[in-house]
Symmetry: C2
Subunit: 137 residues, 2 copies
């Protein structure tokens, strides 16, 4: 657990679901992409192919549960999934619900924004996603 890794520390997070191996959080620091969750493997591992097959499968099951819950609650036009880790090489998946009127659509949220519009999301969507994740577990 490198002392410098922000994903090892897990401070100030909105945790939607967790077990001893991974956690699902709501990402609240990206106002232009407000419908954003992250699945974080607890152990400090860099790549999916560094994980044993069973762990890889557990990680992806959490990603699919998160995608399914976000689709059900948010009714997005598309889900975007990404595992980069260039800045923080600690395994984590971005799960992002996309809308035609969001700041970046149809580009990725890592492109330059096309507009200022921020989609209106259902009230309490993070709690609803957390409830669906708890029901799946």
């Amino acid at each position: 657990m490198p002392a410098s890794c922000p994903l090892c520390r897990a401070e100030n997070e909105t945790v939607l679901w967790q077990n001893s191996r991974l956690r699902v959080i709501a990402v609240n620091d990206t106002p232009a992409a407000p419908a954003f969750c992250r699945v974080i493997w607890r152990e400090h591992v860099a790549e999916m192919t560094d994980l044993p097959a069973a762990a890889r499968q557990e990680m992806m099951a959490a990603v699919w549960h998160t995608e399914a819950a976000m689709r059900r609650v948010l009714r997005p036009v598309k889900i975007n999934l990404a595992s980069f880790g260039n800045q923080v090489p600690h395994l984590h998946w971005h799960v992002i619900a996309r809308f035609e009127n969001d700041a970046f659509f149809p580009d990725s949220i890592w492109a330059a924004p096309r507009r200022e519009a921020v989609p209106e999301l259902p009230e309490g969507w993070q709690r609803q996603v957390a409830e669906l994740l708890a029901a799946e577990a």
Copy 2:
């Protein structure tokens, strides 16, 4: 199979591996990100959670094989994985080998480039990846 979907058509592709359900291609139209493969599900499906569990697992197995082969041949500093489909809602995974001196590092390849440098890649890396994928299949 919508007539307008470019991923249904499969024209002018460098196929590295394929079976009846998916194909792995080398992406040659993004000069700033030259170490780039794509895993494409043949059926016109939009989201991973639209696939039955077994198909989802087969798709991801192809992604892990591609990641493992690219790591072995290219020795990148990081692998980036992404499934967006905002422009083409036909399931496909980007598998991108990243280098500290590539045009975007440590940002995603969808951000604005930071430099012009293009990493030197091993000669014939696509053929080597194809051979490893064939050996895994």
